[in-house]
């Protein structure tokens, strides 16, 4: 690991002051960053530890929630209001990593975690356009079981590994960011970028920016929601694919619908095309399949992930069927 300086931030102002100079990184739980530093993928000259910042989970006046960026994943998953009002978010968090890692990982760090593409993780042995722009990609012709079928480019097909962000995309959460020119709000669905010809640029964050909180909008329909993750073993593994969905039925027709996918794209994938098919229709397996097909129109599979479109169709159908049955 390269040498670095370490400082502990007292509050947001202190963090911004310490983080503003040089090639530093903000440190949350370290479950991804410390690992990447040990692999020599990340080589920050300074770490500013954010885990001492206030980590509040507040129920907002408007019925939404405000969650501090330093809240640990495990704390958020177990919060009573999250469990009852946004169960898909609890379920997404609980499907990720292990209890130990959830006790460490922060909300801000979860959003900013890097892909687990094995080629990205291997500076000595593999080319990677994300790590070294213009160097090439050894993944596309390589082991692609975990790689994207939507939103990838000829430069990069790495997936975003977060479960939490998939639930946030379905909820339509906002990310609050503090920058040198003040605070701004970025919808989670616009927060991550698609790789295009610059896979090294993963988010819309500017140098020195700090995530301070996420805001969940009031969303009464979210009580009718879930998250399903399909993976190579039943616990403690990244998603092959995942589905977050909110579905309510009124008078026999789909009234509220929100769908997002994980494991299939370089960012948490809000499935707006699928939602457009579903809204106002009578729930049925045929309609669910039609919705999946609409979202998969532009899907491109690689040698190792040709199973993903069908797996996604079946999982979406199963999840929507389960939610619709409860509201029938």
């Amino acid at each position: 690991m390269n040498p670095f300086s370490y400082g502990r931030a007292e509050d947001v102002v202190d963090a911004m002051r310490q983080g503003a100079n040089g090639a530093g990184r903000f440190l949350g739980g370290g479950t991804n960053l410390v690992d990447l530093m040990r692999q020599n993928v990340e080589k920050p000259s300074a770490l500013v530890d954010l885990t001492g910042l206030p980590a509040a989970i507040e129920e907002a006046q408007d019925g939404g929630m405000l969650i501090g960026a330093s809240v640990r994943n495990g704390t958020l998953a177990a919060h009573p209001a999250v469990r009852t009002r946004y169960p898909l978010l609890s379920r997404a968090l609980l499907s990720g990593a292990s209890s130990q890692i959830r006790n460490m990982a922060t909300v801000g760090g979860n959003i900013l975690q890097r892909t687990r593409c094995a080629y990205f993780y291997d500076p000595e042995g593999a080319r990677c356009n994300k790590r070294q722009p213009g160097s090439g990609c050894d993944a596309i012709e390589g082991f692609t079981r975990y790689h994207a079928i939507l939103g990838g480019s000829g430069q990069c097909v790495a997936t975003h590994p977060s479960d939490m962000c998939v639930a946030l995309a379905a909820i339509g959460a906002d990310v609050q960011v503090m920058g040198t020119s003040g605070e701004r709000t970025i919808p989670i669905v616009d927060f991550h970028r698609l790789p295009g010809d610059r896979p090294d640029l993963e988010t819309v964050m500017e140098p020195g920016d700090l995530i301070t909180a996420i805001r969940l909008p009031p969303l009464p329909a979210a009580i009718h929601s879930t998250y399903r993750k399909v993976r190579d073993r039943s616990s403690y593994a990244f998603a092959l694919i995942s589905v977050a969905a909110i579905l309510d039925v009124k008078d026999g027709f789909i009234d509220s619908i929100r769908v997002a996918f994980g494991g299939v794209a370089p960012k948490p994938w809000r499935a707006l095309r699928a939602e457009a098919v579903l809204r106002g229709r009578a729930p049925s397996e045929a309609v669910f399949r039609e919705a999946a097909d609409a979202e998969l129109v532009e899907a491109r599979t690689l040698a190792g992930n040709g199973f993903k479109p069908d797996l996604l169709r079946r999982t979406l159908t199963a999840v929507l069927g389960e939610l619709a049955e409860k509201r029938a």
């Binding site: 502990r8 479950t31 530890d49 009852t84 130990q100 890692i101 616990s235």
Partner: protein
């Protein structure tokens, strides 16, 4: 400032690159905590920080400045006897080579605290109810601790046995 480990104060290492795991094992001689994958995938390095189970391999020692760390060395009885959960692991063959055992035991004690305060898990069907620690729940909640010898059945039985004893 200092790190409190099993009730005693220890100086924070000057080099921030030192992980909590390396501090425990290489600098303090507390070799009960094990180095497995060193990348957060196996759970062998699990210790308790302020009562919460965490991975000491991915924790920088400087980050736990002023906090309380408990390792397997700090779990036994004052007279030198084993912790009742350690006894249960022996009774139920919850180990073969024993390398993952300190992590399993630290993890299990924190897991029982989490379940006791009502935290749900991935397999909890009803998120609004207090979870019941079925075998399926225990397995899911212990999934961050791998045992390459495959002693998981004995581990789950040892935890169940300890729970029954703790209730009595």
């Amino acid at each position: 400032m200092a790190i409190i480990i099993n009730g005693s104060d220890y100086a924070v290492p000057a080099d921030p690159r030192v992980s909590l795991l390396d501090l425990l094992r290489d600098r303090l001689g507390l070799t009960g905590t094990k180095l497995g994958c060193n990348q957060g995938a196996c759970g062998a390095c699990t210790v308790l920080v302020d009562g919460q189970r965490i991975l000491s391999c991915l924790t920088l020692a400087v980050q736990v400045d002023g906090r309380e760390v408990r390792t397997i060395e700090g779990l036994g009885q004052e007279d030198g006897g084993l912790h009742p959960l350690q006894e249960a692991f022996i009774r139920h063959d919850g180990l073969q080579c024993g390398y993952c055992t300190p992590g399993q035991i630290c993890s299990a004690l924190a897991m029982l605290e989490e379940a006791g305060r009502g935290d749900p898990s991935h397999v909890t069907a009803d998120l609004s109810a207090a979870p019941l620690l079925t075998r399926e729940e225990i397995r899911e909640r212990m999934s961050g601790n791998l045992c390459r010898c495959g002693a998981h059945n004995g581990i789950v039985e040892a935890i169940e046995d300890y729970m029954a004893g703790a209730d009595a």
